[in-house]
């Protein structure tokens, strides 16, 4: 499911090449749809790993980290828009989304390697 979300996010990079408003809105639809998947599935992952007694902190860490990334990246996207470099902005946004998935895979491997060295992971 997470790989599906990553694949849908990659399609977001193609938005600047889409010919009309309807196609652009569909591209945005895919991006929003995939982003919701990343949120729901990442929270499901975290609540599966950690005790429900810490659900508040887990949700807070997720929402807080998302806000931090948006606060850091939106000025960059705004600057690219000012320079009319729309394709670069969409590419970077899509690449960051996919990087989130790849980072999760890599960090998951690290966690498994530390927790159970005898197993191959993820």
């Amino acid at each position: 499911m997470l790989a599906c979300c990553a694949a849908l996010t990659m399609a977001f990079a193609a938005v600047p090449w889409l010919p009309n408003v309807a196609a652009v809105m569909f591209g945005m639809f895919l991006a929003m749809f995939a982003a919701a998947g990343f949120i729901v599935l990442s929270v499901a992952y975290a609540t599966d790993v950690y005790s429900p007694d810490h659900a508040g902190l887990i949700a807070g860490a997720g929402a807080g980290s998302w806000s931090a990334v948006v606060a850091v990246t939106m000025p960059l996207f705004g600057h690219l828009f000012d320079l009319h470099r729309y394709s670069a902005a969409f590419w970077i946004a899509a690449a960051i989304g996919v990087a989130g998935y790849l980072g999760w895979l890599a960090l998951g491997k690290v966690g498994h390697a530390l927790a159970c060295p005898g197993h191959t992971s993820v």
Binding site: L2, A35, V40, V43, Y50, A61, A93, G97, G100
Partner: protein, 234 residues
């Protein structure tokens, strides 16, 4: 941004009932304080307090879900809890704009404060229900809590924060993109700008349903190694 983990910790320590009451009381007081704003600094202070109170939304939503629903219903529960924000963004202008036109902006903030008071009254009744204070199953309670050095905690934040970044990009940039390179009029943009948040809502429910379906079949949206926990036991 810092309010999310702060409220998360408060809710985990003080409990859902007291924690959410404190958060919404803060939000309600801050909302009403807008009506007394007389300049930049007083308005800024009210906005900051409002934002701080809002920080409990997601921690409160998830905590309610894991405290009241079994694992195979939590995906849909999370969809309901988290979709409230985007649904509110759609409904609020429709409700508050007529109040603003009738009583002015101070009246609009009094109104939202009254909504907060009504929520607090409702919450004081609902949160007393015994099924709101269910203890987690022993197998779940035995799991560790997150620590800053845990790789799975960073894996989760990486997936959430970076994976969902296009969400913020679309929310804040869609109108600019439609207006400038595509040349759409403001009137047209106003007519279509509700579509991306609706897609967001749909995504919550579809992925929540798929996650629950996988959980019922004993599957997960991710694969772990041979059943062991990805967190080293402490």
């Amino acid at each position: 941004m810092p309010a999310n983990p702060v409220w998360g910790r408060i809710l985990d320590r003080a409990g859902l009932r007291r924690g959410m009451s404190a958060a919404v009381a803060c939000w309600t007081g801050a909302s009403m304080a807008h009506a007394f704003a007389s300049g930049f600094w007083s308005l800024g202070a009210a906005r900051a307090a409002l934002g701080f109170g809002e920080g409990a939304t997601f921690p409160g939503g998830l905590r309610t879900v894991v405290q009241t629903l079994p694992p195979d219903q939590r995906g849909r529960g999370l969809a309901v809890a988290y979709s409230g924000g985007s649904l509110g963004a759609v409904i609020t202008p429709l409700v508050v704009t007529p109040i603003f036109l009738l009583w002015g902006w101070r009246g609009a903030f009094w109104f939202t404060g009254m909504i907060g008071l009504a929520w607090l009254a409702l919450w004081s009744m609902v949160s007393r229900r015994p099924d709101m204070r269910k203890l987690p199953p022993p197998i779940e309670a035995a799991r560790p809590g997150p620590r800053l050095g845990d790789a799975p905690l960073w894996a989760f934040m990486c997936l959430y924060a970076l994976g969902a970044l296009p969400l913020g990009f679309v929310l804040y940039s869609a109108s600019l993109y439609l207006a400038h390179p595509l040349g759409c009029s403001q009137e047209f943009i106003g007519k279509v700008l509700w579509i991306p948040p609706l897609d967001w809502e749909a995504g919550y429910f579809v992925w929540g349903w798929l996650g629950d379906r996988a959980a019922r079949r004993g599957l997960r949206a991710w694969r772990h190694c041979g059943g062991c926990s990805p967190v080293a036991r402490r």
